[in-house]
Symmetry: C2
Subunit: 478 residues, 2 copies
Amino acid sequence: MAKEKLVEQITDMETDFAQWYTDICRKAELVEYASVKGFTILRPYGYAIWENIQQIMDGEFKKTGHQNVAMPVLIPESLLRKEGELVNGFAPEVAWVTKGGSEELEEPLAFRPTSETMFCDHWSRVLHSYRELPMLYNQWCSVIRWEKTTRPFLRSREFWWQEGHTIHETAEEAEAETAQQLKCYADFFENVLAIPVVPGRKTEKEKFAGAEATYTCECMMKDHKALQGATSHYFGDKFSRAYNVTFTGRDNKVQYPFQTSWGSTTRMIGAVIMAHGDNNGLVLPPKIAPIQVIVLPIAQHKPGVLEKAQELVDRLAKLGLRVKGDFTDNSPGWKFANWEMKGVPLRIEIGPKDIENNQCVAVRRDDREKLFLSLDELDTKVPELLDAVQKSLYEKAKANMEEHTYPAYSLEEAKKIQEEKGGFIKTMWCGELACEMKMKEQAGMSSRCMPLHQEHLADTCPICGKPAKHMIYWGVAY
Amino acid sequence: MAKEKLVEQITDMETDFAQWYTDICRKAELVEYASVKGFTILRPYGYAIWENIQQIMDGEFKKTGHQNVAMPVLIPESLLRKEGELVNGFAPEVAWVTKGGSEELEEPLAFRPTSETMFCDHWSRVLHSYRELPMLYNQWCSVIRWEKTTRPFLRSREFWWQEGHTIHETAEEAEAETAQQLKCYADFFENVLAIPVVPGRKTEKEKFAGAEATYTCECMMKDHKALQGATSHYFGDKFSRAYNVTFTGRDNKVQYPFQTSWGSTTRMIGAVIMAHGDNNGLVLPPKIAPIQVIVLPIAQHKPGVLEKAQELVDRLAKLGLRVKGDFTDNSPGWKFANWEMKGVPLRIEIGPKDIENNQCVAVRRDDREKLFLSLDELDTKVPELLDAVQKSLYEKAKANMEEHTYPAYSLEEAKKIQEEKGGFIKTMWCGELACEMKMKEQAGMSSRCMPLHQEHLADTCPICGKPAKHMIYWGVAY
């Protein structure tokens, strides 16, 4: 009956990438399926990653004047229906509350799939004057979308996110906000998650329901599939008009403000797993790792070892690092495997011989490089090593993306590259939905984005031969 | 059509305390009613208070080894029904999701009113060995209880809270956790919210549905009514048995862990308003104030004033204080009233004469004391003043509570004190429900708690005359 806990083998990513991913999610104790179909539980280690993401990202939002709020989780059906495109986009995925206590509700209430409608409803009642603009709001919460399939972090009926919602006096200001927040996400992916991105604009087909324009950060996983990292939307004054959000302008006339929204989700954790993980488990960028350094005593029964290991823990903690000592009676081999599975960026080993030599052993999680560090220089070397791991993860992810981004000059070529290599395939595009659909049908790829950084690959759309309007990225996406 | 924004008068608390409270909630822009009946919106200023509360409290939880997680928001009806007392306690207040997308659900899903059931369900699948105990979990989220009436922060269908859930190897450890978390709350109320509390145990009638014992921090508002501040529950192994949560013990036999839960909510903001506010508006303890110091330039059109004011803002920000300069073109009088309404603990004014004299004027929000501070000693004096405000708020709240706590030796006396003065009324009690009900029916008071610190007031219960078992506090509560 004793249920023993082991560090179990995970599936190799080359054998079955999807199974490898699920194995990591569960065996690194990030997430567990709930008994409610389609729902997942963020366990302490997974949630700690999310907390680190939240803390850093929230700080960035606040630097540019954004404020957090909390809007109601339930939205009356009539309110949701005021903006036709949005409700049509989300209606098939909405969970409905129809009963409160013992009473059947007169009007069903939607569990928010997104909160544009609630923000607009609130603004319609509190906004008065241009002096109060912009209103730069954000909230951290969970949303529900009634998906058919479940994959931890990537697709679940409930997920955790932040949703930014802002209103501005002019279209230009709102457009600048949309761009600023896209850049904020791109910087976050690159500097914090160590994942390079292609920032760009979504096509009409792929944009957010109700938005005038949607921008995205697209990134590439180790299986060369694409993942949409975060999105930033410009709404013009469409929702303002639908929800009667008005203000008195500088000209003393009633005007409609211009609106944006932007969001990022726990999906980012899925991106981190698939961008950096390996066959030994999770590999975490130091900036978001719940434990940045694990200290392991070697031959811990020998006198002085545990004390010295604890001393190292205390010393590194004083530097502001997230450090933990594993002083359990598990074997060193088990501990190595366990903390590798959990993706801790740096392992420090200290045993009797190291103590004699006033040194310790440091092993990087990313490349398993083993170094002897003098204890005298620990305080500088450990932060340097963590920086090096952070940079190296980014460089490797960047090389992966660059090596698997291919130009294509015909539909056939695009199809062939996709079948043989995967990755991002860039072509010119006429801008027509028909060609986008044809690429999907024949090469199995959706449009990822029209990158902000445009290249001129040819004069014509390789699908229809008409004049090209944009350079566009295609891919198979999560 | 121009909707102008003014600092409006609020109702005096002596005239109508309930209206005074609502006025502050809305005019200090803490909270707004949503268009969904029974739901409220936490606006940026209100949410910023909540963020400060969260940050400090979360830090305290983590110091004692608690970890945050995220559990699903929806609970299947069958799962909720496994523990009879809990579901009977909450069923009348549950909101039900019955439809997901276009499909009618086979089983209704409850929007969590509290998450004991979800934690137990999870633990039943992940707990294996005594080595994994204790599991010390917490989550910050919102819950729904379908209340009939709405009062901002005090009673609304959705509210924000933290719910701690832990399991332990032994009853003693779980009981110690319950006590530790009660003390954590009591310290938080006193040291952070500047509100003194009476910690104690709830009666059988008032305890949490399904708990073996419920402990509470009771506090007193300025109208001498009681408010339950936060609660800590001990469950024994009742839920473990109901949900089949087991582990292999040290004796290699299957055992049931012992469980606790403990929670505190956005209600704490309501407590802060009613414990410290005055007829000019909100009065915030510096430790949770979103803006601790507001810097106001006087005669700001005069050369050098704005620059000097900005210099003070920068200087105080460097000390780690939350400081803001109001450089709008509103009149100084408007600004004084506005920032008093918003409860900013310290106002600093600087004008041409002050600059000449190398000084500024500091005005405390709590007692409006006005001091001249030399700019040379700003860096030490401002933090000192904030500490003084924090302490003084606590002392005043403590005096209020002590002055309005009365012993009573008969039901008639208790009733008379309640009618004439309000406050906490302490008596002995036999421990019988009948006497508790009689106090409620005849004196309109519910039992608040049996304080941890017991006093011997008499030998018998003043209601029935039988031997007394406890000293108990009574009051009219929010």
